[in-house]
Amino acid sequence: MKMITAVIKHFRLNDVRKALTDIGVEGMTITEVKGFGRQKGHFEVYRGVEYEVRFLPKVKVEVAVSDEKLDETLSAIQENARTGEIGDGKIFVYNLENVIRIRTGEKGTEAI
């Protein structure tokens, strides 16, 4: 099993979620994060001092999938999160040693 973690732009979330549901992913977990990267920030002026804001709001999507589903899921995310502009974000893939569904105690791929 793999855990896919994607840091994406907020306004792509809805499409990503739909795409994932379409390919049969049944769950995901979302976190508000701030990203720092190649994407330039914007300037904000407060009290006469101008600051460049480099930490930009992003959303992190975590999806656990079975090994077979990995590629399909990755492309679903990539296609739907993409705008083609700097700051589209990144996808990270981790190995997942185990998954447990708390309600039933199921383990492994069953539990996803």
Partner: protein, 449 residues
Amino acid sequence: MKKQNSELRSQNSDKKNIKNFSAVLFAFCFLLIALFSGSAFAGESSKIDTGDTAWILVSAALVMLMTPGLALFYGGMVRKKNVLGTLMQSFIAIAIISLQWIFIGYTLSFGPDISGIIGGLDWMLLNDVGVEPSSYAKTVPHLAFMIYQAMFAVITPALISGAFAERMKFSAYVIFILLWTTLVYDPVCHWIWGGGWMGKLGVVDFAGGLVVHVTSGISALAAALFIGKRKGYLEELLPPHNLPMTVLGAGLLWFGWFGFNAGSALSSGELSAMAFVTTHTGACAATVTWLIIEWIHRGMPTMFGAATGAIAGLATITPAAGFVSPSSALIIGIAAGGFCYLALNSKAKFGYDDTLDAFGVHGVGGIIGTIGAGLFASAAINGVNGFFFGNASQLFKQLMAIGVVAVYSFIISIVIFKIIDIVIGVRVCEECEENGLDIEQHGEAGYFL
């Protein structure tokens, strides 16, 4: 912090402390009542006008609301971790300064004049301040005038708190505002409004350009210089945590300011209407001016700029409100927007950290407005002519007054700060500053969102 906490806990168990404390409080109360009550509130006076009284009482309520308004205006601009500490600085001023006013401030300010310098102690604890009208406002109960003026005394030190926001000890703050009100506000108020030398000389200040804004603004500058910059100033983003709160505060301040300025007519009629109109005009002109300049200078007009510009306009028109015409108010408002914008945007260059621009807005605004009154006052409005109406001397009086009040406020403020700093320290420790005033000074958090 941890040690302090456990000390408290030991006091906690010792609940007797409180009981003793209550007992002492009560003894004190009975003394009080024995001494002062019942004497001053006797007669009925037929000269009281119901409309004027209604207007003064409403105005007093409006000015009272300004301090919570200021709390929100300032509170929204600090970082989240300091929001309660900042609100507290305004809120506590209401309670403490009102009591100071009742005990001693009112009589020092408005009590029977002693050589033009200060009021005598005759009216301590409102002795002889009753429901009959006073010479200050001939158609409203003396107590109504007293409480109306109390609200001015309350907001003035609270304004200063913008200069040292996010880094001052609460204990030091409490002592500071008590001393400052007694040593700066009360005398200056007496000089100008309480029958003192400046008033006699003909200096004019309709609703507190000198008494409120120059004193607090200049003291704010002194405070900012004395206490030093916040950690991270000009290096990190130290952003306002809740600008909508600031906008709400600005709205309440604007609303309350009608009581501040139009209420200063001390009656309901021609003059209050005029001051109401000039106040609104000044505020609007400053707001628009600020935004135009910001738009040109930075490329975008900001909500923060609009709110700050409005307050700058209101502060600036204050001394002139009941002396000038609406078109003069327009010009004063434009000047307010321009000069205060300049002050805010030069601050970084000078490098001092007047955190919420108490000097940049109230100091600069108070000065511009006091000069404005000297330039644009028209006898047709309220009996005094300014420079543009052929009376150059008024302008010089105003300038002299600004100089004296500014120097006096600055020096006394520094002295007060110095003394407090030696005795208990004015600034929180570095770690406290990092953790924020809310947790460190008040043991609370502003939000659990």
